[in-house]
């Protein structure tokens, strides 16, 4: 039986520890614990190990992120944050989880029970599926899909469906409001988000995330500054983070689409959102900051480099959340269509022209974009980014619109003389 995940170091380690034998000697290089003919056990155990690590890693990461976000948000607001349980309050997520687990799990009488129950599952599932293609270190990924970038976009868009299901199934007006807002916003932000990734794919010449990492002689945040900006802001909207959190705006619509959720379902939705930030930071680090490649020892310390880059983006997300107030729906739409979309288009066009010429330089088939060519692209794209941000920032400025309909045209207001 040929192992499915040949490149994954963890998978190969577990598989060979259990099922190494003569049949896969050139691959494993030693005998395993199990006798011959039992490779299928090793196959399943290794697969389950990977799944266990991935799922629990995501949930544990979400817990740590909850703590980190609360601490950092507090520091941004000159407070201290949770500091009661454990050193620096690091055990606070456990307390939160215990609280949520022992809470009553209410399903409203009018709710659509099946859809209502499916929502947390779908939200968490879309997140965990998107983690499958994320390279954490060299040869440490679940699958090296050759359509990895497309897969991420496709899988993470399922959250939109889950949000709308939550709003519809809750039979609650606030939940419905939140879901409608969410769908409106998320559909708009998909477009610049996907367009911003096209530049990366063009330069790397592949949609596989591993190829994207290997193509980054220079971090793509320099080669693709506009793409990185648009992706960062777009994914920030996709994750419903604070400048764009109109779909769970606490001060307007109780908790938006998850108004009716409590207990473990609420915990799962929150975990999916929080781990979503981690996943988004991971994608940002992979696509625009070189993933597991570092200045030195990329092979040995790949996971460390990746974690550092991921933490950088996590910090950025928290910083943005701590700073900006919630936007109105029209401001959000204007931002997506008048600002992010043109920038993504400019980035796409500029990158396409550059890649065409550099590919032409190599010969008929567009080849690999080399380090020097990436420096040239950075030198062109960074000023272009600044110029287009300034220009479209000016165009996209939203004035306050006075409604055209005047009150008198709806309700006739009697004049004082007529009353007399």
């Amino acid at each position: 039986m040929v192992p499915f995940l040949q490149d994954n170091v963890i998978y190969r380690g577990v598989y060979c520890w259990l099922g190494g034998n003569e049949g896969n000697a050139q691959w494993c290089g030693g005998d395993g614990l199990l006798p011959g003919g039992y490779e299928w056990v090793a196959y399943f155990v290794a697969g389950l190990t990977i799944m266990l690590i991935l799922v629990n890693g995501a949930l544990l990461g979400a817990a740590v992120f909850v703590w980190a976000e609360r601490r950092l948000l507090a520091r941004f607001q000159a407070r201290r944050g949770p500091n009661r349980w454990g050193p620096w309050g690091i055990l606070q997520p456990i307390a939160d989880l215990v609280k949520l687990l022992i809470k009553e799990d209410i399903i409203p009488t009018a709710a659509d029970r099946i859809a209502f129950t499916l929502v947390p599952i779908i939200m968490l599932m879309s997140l965990l599926l998107s983690l499958a293609v994320l390279p954490f270190a060299r040869n440490t990924y679940l699958a090296n899909l050759n359509i990895g970038v497309l897969y991420i976009v496709a899988v993470s868009s399922m959250t939109t469906i889950a949000i709308f299901m939550a709003g519809w199934a809750s039979a609650n007006k606030f939940a419905m409001f939140g879901a409608m807002r969410g769908v409106t916003m998320l559909i708009s932000y998909e477009i610049p988000l996907i367009l911003s990734l096209v530049g990366v794919v063009l330069i790397a010449g592949s949609m596989s995330l591993v190829s994207v990492v290997e193509a980054q002689y220079l971090p793509f945040i320099l080669v693709q500054p506009l793409g990185a900006l648009v992706f960062m802001l777009g994914i920030s909207a996709e994750l419903n983070r604070t400048p764009f959190d109109i779909l769970e705006a606490e001060s307007e619509i109780v908790a938006g689409y998850h108004t009716e959720y409590s207990g473990i379902k609420f915990a799962l939705i929150q975990a999916a959102e929080m781990a979503g930030v981690l996943a988004a930071s991971g994608f940002l680090a992979t696509l625009f900051l070189g993933g597991w490649s570092g200045p030195f020892l990329s092979t040995q310390l790949g996971a460390l480099w990746f974690l550092m880059k991921l933490s950088f983006f996590v910090f950025l997300f928290i910083w943005i959340r701590a700073t900006f107030p919630r936007l109105r729906i029209d401001q959000i739409m204007a931002f997506a269509w008048k600002f992010l979309l043109p920038l993504a288009m400019i980035n796409f066009l500029a990158t396409a022209v550059q890649v065409y010429f550099f590919g032409f330089y190599h010969g008929d088939v567009p080849g690999e974009i080399t380090r020097n060519e990436q420096w040239v692209m950075a030198a062109i794209n960074v000023p272009l980014a600044v110029a287009s941000i300034v220009a479209f920032g000016h165009f996209a400025r939203e004035g306050i619109r006075v409604p055209a309909v005047r009150l008198e045209s709806i309700v006739p207001i009697p004049r004082v003389a007529e009353v007399d």
Binding site: F76, A78, W319, I320, T323, F324, H394, R397
Partner: protein
């Protein structure tokens, strides 16, 4: 230019991030308290109090209850009363301090405490025994003599009744109510003073 406001906002939060937090971890850390604090746990000096009940009369909420009994011999001489009940219901008190302002003999002072949470309302009533036995660190609110002496109710020693008044009354203790004063009472004199009115 568009976007500079965003950068400015980010810099504001970053400044807060670098600055140490100014939250005080209350039960472990405390901020210095002003000596003029108007807190719970009134400080009351039995020796100075004449039982005139000015405090009870001035109280806008009517939460001070005073029951006095006249000493049998010296009432008409204008002598002191024995205080049997001095209940201050601090559950309803708003700490305006009018009772302290009203006291003509500097017998009542505000305290400095603020941690008198109780499970039942009746426990919030300060009784006369409690007032007598309390450690007496009066707040300097409306008491310029304490303020001029730079008395600090947090750090300073508990004050005796002789030290807190505007002037010392060395005779006061002996003439305290309840103590039978060995002196003749001229009832006629009191009547004549009423006649004059």
């Amino acid at each position: 230019m568009y976007g500079l406001g965003l950068a400015k906002g980010l810099m504001v939060t970053m400044k807060n991030f670098i600055r140490p937090p100014f939250t005080v971890q209350y039960p472990e850390e405390r901020l210095p308290q002003h000596p003029r604090f108007r807190g719970e746990e009134f400080v009351w000096y039995d020796e100075r109090c004449t039982g005139c009940a000015s405090c009870a009369k001035y109280c806008p909420l009517g939460i001070i209850k005073i029951v006095t009994s006249p000493s049998e011999t010296a009432v008409l001489e204008g002598d002191k009363y024995d205080i049997e009940v001095f209940d201050i219901d601090i559950g309803r008190c708003m700490f305006c301090g009018l009772c302290v302002e009203a006291c003509p003999y500097d017998a009542l002072f505000m305290g400095s405490g603020f941690e008198r949470g109780r499970y039942q309302r009746k426990d919030l009533v300060i009784s006369v025994d409690e007032l007598r036995q309390a450690v007496k660190r009066p707040s300097t609110w409306f008491r310029p003599q304490l303020e001029n002496a730079r008395y600090d109710p947090q750090e300073g020693e508990p004050l005796a009744w002789e030290d807190v008044g505007r002037e010392k009354w060395p005779w006061h203790k002996q003439e305290k109510a309840g103590a039978k004063i060995n002196r003749t009472v001229h009832r006629g004199g009191a009547e004549s003073s009423q006649d004059k009115k």
